[in-house]
Symmetry: C2
Subunit: 314 residues, 2 copies
């Protein structure tokens, strides 16, 4: 296999938040392939000896660094930036946390809790959670985006029409993502890499894990989408679905309330039926369970369902 | 294979709406297996010569009949009714409609439109949509439920904590569903069978198709769930996922708006990129595309994504 011949951007070249005045760390041509060294969402705060007590000392302004920005020649507002996600090189260390005040069930989980992962980075075998669960891995970038047109620094936390902290678990190897270009040069950045996550990222964190990401950037003239669009090269869930799912539901007129009910009922189910403590169940739901909208037309009640893969607990 | 030896309930024994005063059509023991002949959601209104003009003459009170109710001996409030879904015997004829005023994008699609399906009922080969799309089939029951405790007749359209018009595409062969029992005997009914549907049922209808459904009903004492819960025996999406997905997103603070944006952007994409007329694209989205909540924690913006299986258009 030939050595990688593109650009590499060191993890020190990261920024916090989005701002179209940030100086580019690289000027790339359309078609260039770039390797980004990505820090984890905790910016290296957690290490193999960390405990739940370390959550309180996370520096507030040092959350979710992204590596970049890259100025892509020829990119103008109205174009699409086509991002082909080629490879992730994971670090083998990761963390998942319940952070007070954050997450879908923040009202039910108010104590900090940290879980550390040590996973096989070469074979990508399922990662062990304590001694009772094995979580299949599928690395992806939680944050992928370009600078918004609006001036000033914008928080990294909410995703926007130009992407950002999308936390879409399908932005994995082989996926081709189209981002709207809002400013000249696009100003592309990437980070917040995850070794595994379910749809929803319900506890607020995934298997947060530093890794390198290799992507190709291309300008597609005049093809700006209204919000990020992508194509996956194959199945989304085959690493999870072999033994089917345990599924809970939320039924009612509010999708957010339904989602909370469905996840809360899964935590209850895993606690009662499998003897998993609620905090562990909640974190496992976040790293491998999926929130789906089963029906959204039978007014006034919609059905949100939460799907927990059975393979994880065998 | 031995002949079916359980009870069969004729399709004439159906009802409209839910009411715990409806007379049972059968008294079953816990553990009995029952074959229900199910009418389609249009109660037989559509036939192979129907056209879009026939949508207006759908009789208002004859929507979504369900076969039953079955009184299950020993079922009391506080118990769960365990429903093992054993088999569907499809009819081979189905319909999908855009019904004015109904569906996720009702504001964008105000003209009635009917599509008829003739599918292979034995081999369950993917069903042809015009000459450009082939939809993999996975029959299931859109409406499965028991009578609510509250007296009176309740509309069949909205699903409730006791089930009903759940339209969950995973309620297919092999799934084991647990329903809360609200009244003595549970009063179980089933109908609204679909040959295929995506998560969301976004245009408001699926591949609506009469079929027989064989289920086993069992009482599980004291195990009532807060809302329907189920276990699937294997993969949910393997019939769809082989070639990956085209995915659009909606990003913002309101899940309903995000869902509308994601589906509307997929209709736009299929129209522009594949030359499919918007009405056909919308109906195809309903019968095979999936609405998922990719993240629901990065306040104040959530990401809803819509996944269209590429295998359908090859």
């Amino acid at each position: 296999m030939p050595a990688f011949r593109g650009h590499t951007i060191h993890r020190a070249r990261h920024h916090f938040g989005w701002n179209n005045a940030f100086e580019p760390v690289l000027v790339a041509k359309s078609g260039d392939t770039i390797r980004f060294e990505c820090l984890d969402a905790g910016c290296g705060h957690y290490h193999p000896e960390s405990t739940s007590a370390d959550i309180a000392s996370m520096p507030e302004g040092k959350v979710n660094p992204v590596t970049g920005p890259v100025f892509v020649e020829g990119a103008e507002p109205g174009d699409a930036l086509k991002v082909t996600i080629r490879e992730f090189v994971p670090s083998g260390f990761g963390w998942t946390a319940i952070i007070p005040g954050f997450g879908l069930l923040a009202d039910q989980f108010d104590e900090p809790r940290l879980h550390l992962w040590h996973y096989d980075k070469a074979a990508r075998e399922p990662a062990l959670f304590s001694d009772f669960a094995r979580v299949p891995l599928k690395p992806f970038a939680g944050t992928v985006g370009v600078a918004p047109a609006e001036p000033g620094t914008h928080s990294i936390i909410p995703p926007r029409h130009v992407g950002g902290n999308l936390d879409i678990r399908d932005l994995a190897e082989g996926t081709v993502l189209y981002l709207p270009v809002d400013v000249k040069g696009a100003l592309f950045s990437i980070g917040d890499t995850h070794a595994a996550q379910g749809d929803g990222e319900v506890c607020g964190t995934a298997v947060e894990s530093a890794m390198d990401a290799e992507v190709t950037v291309e300008v597609v003239k005049g093809a700006t989408p209204a919000s990020p669009r992508f194509t996956t090269p194959g199945p989304s869930s085959r690493h999870l679905d072999g033994l089917g799912y345990e599924v809970t539901t939320g039924v009612g007129p509010d999708l957010m309330r339904n989602a909370r009910d469905a996840v809360s009922r899964m935590v209850d189910f895993l606690s009662r039926d499998r003897g998993i403590c609620p905090e562990d169940a909640y974190m496992l739901c976040s790293v491998c369970g999926d929130l789906r909208i089963s029906e959204i037309v039978d007014a006034p009640n919609w059905v949100v369902s939460f799907h927990f893969p059975r393979i994880v607990l065998t």
